[in-house]
């Protein structure tokens, strides 16, 4: 009986003391959080993707409350989230940022790229890059098709279709995870409304490109000469479009001998 009573009493006392300690601690160590910060955080999507340039949604919420970030700075949530946050913060959202999407600069699908070997190994582009000749395709500059970008995407917006990664423009939020992942550096963030794009990244000279791929930029420079806006430049034997200058007239696509400047 004594043992029973002492057990109950000791545990009750210890529990009570710990409880009091916690009450005391929660008062003493209370951290004042701006209530707006919690409200803003609830509006944000919570993917913690970092596309806004901050460490995550919590950091973004703190920055918005401090006025260091625009209320519509979340590229994932876009305008709807921006409006909600603007209500919380009591400001009018600045004009919406132009929607951008990722774009894979390669058109080397299975029908134009004959495999030069078979690959049995870890299903990732980084692993395939380590074998001599970079993957199974004849072209050593193009999409390897093992889907490292697919694994990196948090939004299910990029998939390997017919051997080449393809971006689902409706789902893409231009967070840039795939851009950072692609070991071939094939992915670029482009304005969603830009109509034409160069779908090749092969830096070799024309004849070599012709040998390895039926859909490659041969670096002839015709597009650069044709473009009245001066938006196309030829670097490393690949055409590149400057989207700040491109007006989408389509003259380049019309004349491109390899038909590699295409409507997206």
């Amino acid at each position: 009986m004594v043992m029973f009573l002492s057990t109950v009493i000791v545990l009750a006392v210890v529990g009570l003391l710990m409880g009091l300690l916690l009450v005391f601690a929660s008062e003493t160590f209370k951290v004042e959080v701006d209530p707006r910060e919690t409200a803003v955080r609830e509006c944000l999507p919570g993917n913690n993707c970092g596309a806004c340039g901050f460490a995550g949604c919590d950091a973004m919420a703190a920055a918005i409350v401090k006025g260091e970030a625009p209320v519509n700075g979340c590229p994932v949530g876009g305008a709807p989230v921006g409006d909600k946050i603007a209500v919380v913060m009591g400001v009018v959202a600045a004009p919406e940022r132009e929607k951008k999407v990722a774009f894979v600069k390669c058109a080397g699908t299975c029908d134009v790229q004959k495999p030069k070997c078979s690959y049995v190994g870890i299903e990732s582009c980084e692993a395939a890059m380590t074998i001599p000749g970079k993957g199974i395709k004849a072209c050593t500059h193009g999409c390897l098709g093992y889907g490292s970008c697919v694994a990196a995407c948090q939004f299910d917006a990029i998939h390997v279709v017919d051997g080449v990664a393809k971006v689902d423009r409706s789902k893409c939020v231009a967070c840039g995870k795939c851009v950072a992942t692609c070991p071939q550096h094939l992915i670029e963030i482009v304005p969603d409304k830009a109509p034409y794009a160069v779908q090749c990244s092969n830096k070799d000279k024309g004849p070599i490109v012709r040998q390895v791929c039926g859909a490659g930029c041969i670096g002839c420079g015709l597009c650069a000469r044709l473009c009245e806006q001066g938006a196309i430049t030829l670097t490393d034997d690949v055409a590149h479009i400057d989207y700040s200058k491109c007006i989408g007239c389509g003259k380049c696509a019309e004349k491109c001998p390899s038909k590699i400047i295409r409507m997206r």
Binding site: T7, F29, V31, I122
Partner: protein
């Protein structure tokens, strides 16, 4: 001083908390998918176990032992450790936000971790004093961190491998942990002291 160093080596390697005492297995298997998170959890465990073993020792020596209530050690330690971790978390949030940011999400996770309780109870069984307890706690936690980071490294490696279907998931992880345990068994052959 040598005895304290000996305590650390013994607890970290020879009697590794996970691989030879089989404590803290749930977090060992659960949070070992990536080296980064495993290392953060390890940091939090080091922090909590070191503090908890010191406090548990004080409570045992000055309260439970004095009053002849040794048989209550398990339940009292659970109560005290759980409360202590909460207080420490609040303290860190206020005073050292940087540490709280790095370890914060793991602290509630290890409040009721059996490794934390196991160290406190082992210290009593071994008759350790205050400093020995703290060092034993620290050593144990370092051993835990070592084990979980190593396992995370192995799991990152096997992630991309072509594992036979029946072995995918938990089986291959348990097999890897088992092989690690066999390797750590070799430390038992160290002649210390």
């Amino acid at each position: 001083m040598t005895s304290l160093a000996l305590v650390i080596v013994t607890t970290a390697l020879v009697n590794n908390v996970v691989l030879s005492q089989f404590l803290g297995l749930c977090s060992f298997l659960g949070v070992s998918k990536q080296i980064k998170t495993a290392a953060s959890l390890g940091g939090a465990v080091i922090f909590v176990i070191t503090i908890a073993s010191g406090v548990a020792n004080l409570i045992y020596t000055y309260v439970l032992d004095r009053l002849g209530l040794d048989y209550l050690q398990t339940i009292v330690f659970i109560l005290v450790i759980a409360g202590l971790v909460q207080v420490v978390e609040m303290f860190l949030k206020k005073q050292v936000p940087a540490i709280h940011k790095a370890l914060g999400i793991y602290l509630p996770l290890i409040t009721t971790n059996c490794a934390v309780l196991g160290v406190a109870l082992n210290n009593v069984t071994d008759g350790f004093g205050f400093f020995e307890s703290v060092f034993a706690g620290f050593g144990t936690a370092v051993g835990y961190t070592l084990a979980i980071v190593l396992l995370a490294g192995i799991r990152e490696r096997i992630e991309g491998n072509d594992i036979p279907k029946p072995f995918r998931g938990a089986p291959i992880v348990l097999l890897s942990a088992c092989l690690m345990a066999i390797a750590f068994y070799g430390f038992g052959g160290l002649s210390l002291g």
